[in-house]
């Protein structure tokens, strides 16, 4: 039965493996380069440094990540693709009626569904897990400087990919057992995956735990939020109400500095009742707590969907 399950999802598994290998070929050399740049250009020393030179060092370090850095956000779609792809061979079996062939051999349908789902889950977790390890390793130097809590790095590192891939697999299977047409079911479940991810990324995640906030006087040094996930920040009044950004007032209070930079005139702002800074953020220390919540959320719903699909198949006819 394991042979059959493997044979039927071979194409999808090989494609997933090829993708992992391709990405490893891209990101391992890039990761080595980043790490060595980090070590040899004194990046570590600049993490809490506030000097102009340090700012330039950090910016240059960020640029080192180069084009890969702009590719990375897209890679968060991969767990979705892998999960949906691994659901496809099972839907194909239902669509083509070939599941009846397997069910009329000597193996009970309970064992059939258990083995097929078991192997899909295993393959999905293995592929997503390898990708997560790869990106966590690649981004380690970047994370020291820029944090790992911001959108794209949070999505790629840690354990969330395991949740995503189970969720995508569950969506594919659940839609597939209801629809029993492979191509539309795969496309629909991938779109549903993207929609759910956008909702969690853009709205739900920041509400897992109440964020921290602080208000400080315009010219005072505020908290260092470099590695935290800043939800909002800006000029505010004393009570921390963010200044609505009246462009004309900001322009009126602007002042061209000695080196051509624009700074805001604090007294002018204070006259307009906006002499404070305000920020709302999730501290970097909550990274694993958030990873745990999001992984449990997606994996839990994913497993429920998989269980639903298994039940539908077992109870069919």
């Amino acid at each position: 039965m394991i042979w059959l399950s493997w044979r039927q999802q071979r194409t999808e598994a090989v494609l997933s493996a090829a993708m992992v290998v391709l990405l490893a070929a891209l990101f391992i050399p890039a990761g080595i380069h980043l790490a060595s740049y980090y070590d040899h250009h004194g990046v570590a020393r600049c993490i809490s440094g506030k000097t102009l030179a340090c700012g330039e060092t950090l910016a240059a370090f960020g640029d080192r990540a180069g084009i890969l850095r702009s590719v990375v956000p897209w890679l968060t779609l991969l767990p979705g693709l892998i999960g949906v792809a691994l659901a496809a061979p099972i839907i194909l079996d239902l669509e083509g009626g070939t599941y009846r062939l397997a069910w009329t051999q000597s193996v009970t349908r309970g064992r059939w569904i258990a083995t097929r789902l078991g192997l899909s889950i295993f393959t999905a977790l293995a592929a997503a897990g390898l990708l997560a390890v790869l990106f966590t390793w690649y981004r380690r130097p970047l994370d020291h400087v820029f944090g790992r809590f911001d959108g794209t790095s949070f999505d790629l590192e840690g354990t969330v990919s395991l949740g995503y891939v189970l969720f995508a697999l569950g969506l594919g299977l659940a839609i597939g057992v209801l629809w029993r047409r492979t191509a539309p079911a795969v496309i629909a479940s991938f779109l549903a995956y993207v929609a759910c991810r956008l909702f969690v990324d853009g709205w739900l995640r920041q509400r897992f735990v109440t964020p921290l906030s602080a208000t400080w006087k315009g010219n005072a040094p505020g908290p260092n939020l470099n590695t935290d996930w800043v939800l909002s920040s800006g000029i505010s009044d004393r009570a921390g109400h963010l200044f609505a950004g009246n462009f004309q007032i900001l322009q009126a209070c602007g002042r061209v500095g000695a080196r051509g930079t624009k700074a805001l005139n604090g007294q002018c702002l204070a006259r307009h009742g906006a002499g404070y800074n305000h920020a709302v953020w999730q501290p970097a220390s909550r990274f694993w707590e958030f990873q745990g919540i999001e992984t449990a959320l997606f994996a839990g719903v994913g497993l429920l969907l998989i269980a639903f699909a298994a039940w539908r198949v077992l109870a069919s006819d």
Binding site: M1, W3, G97, L101, W103, T104, Q105, S106, V107, T108
Partner: protein, 294 residues
Amino acid sequence: MSAALESRGLGRRYGSQWALQGCTLEIPRGTVTALVGPNGAGKTTLLRLAVGLTRPSAGSVRVFGLDPRAQAAEALPRVGFLAQEHPLYGGFTVEEMLRFGGKLNPGWDDQAARDRMAALDLPLKKKVRSLSGGQRAQVALTLALAKRPELLLLDEPVASLDPLARREFLQSVVEAVAEREITVVLSSHILADLERVCDHLVILAHGRTQLVGEIEEIVASHRLLTGPRDEAEDVSRMHEVVRASHVERQTTLLVRANGHVYDSHWTVHELDLEEIVLAYLGQDAERRREAVLS
């Protein structure tokens, strides 16, 4: 010893429509049974119920005394099933299909399967997708046979085949039956396809069994009687009247006779199997017409 296949009041409903209803029959071990009926008569439903693909809505079905659904682990290895559309994995090679059979069946006879493929000139390396309909049917039959079942259920096995492939296929079934004493049930909407190979007959129409029995006995007991209309009543008291038609004062009766039919008032004709089957199926059609009119 329990029958190879036995059903009691077996029924299956899809929505409000009964695909099979009140089906009670017993198929003894070692027989080859033709399951005949028009399309939509419930043949496929009956066979699917027997192999546990479908759950009964009413009554029960047993293979070798086992519930094919609740006791699937014991029942499945003993039943071979060939579905009408001969489903196979299109992307597998013939060899992989055999491997599939071996992996999923503890009683798999790999040598026999390979011998059959060789005898049929079927290349093992070829993809199933690229085989002809007849070749695919043979691969599917090989899968069902090499499993070494005690009961082999074939749903419309020759419907999609051309006459030559039909003949070859049935020949394969006959040989398999001769080699090992297995019980076979073949369904078809055309009796002529199966007549040569079967010794038992089940006629299914309109979701119900119309006739169950041994073919020899069926042919021996059915007679066409022609005689005076006013004596038709007497005949029906003695024998089971399958079909009656009247012209003027003369009546033609198709009867399933209890014992010898001899009466000087009636002319007695013998019937061949096909005529008998058509009479039963015609009777069903008439009944349906009446149901529509009333």
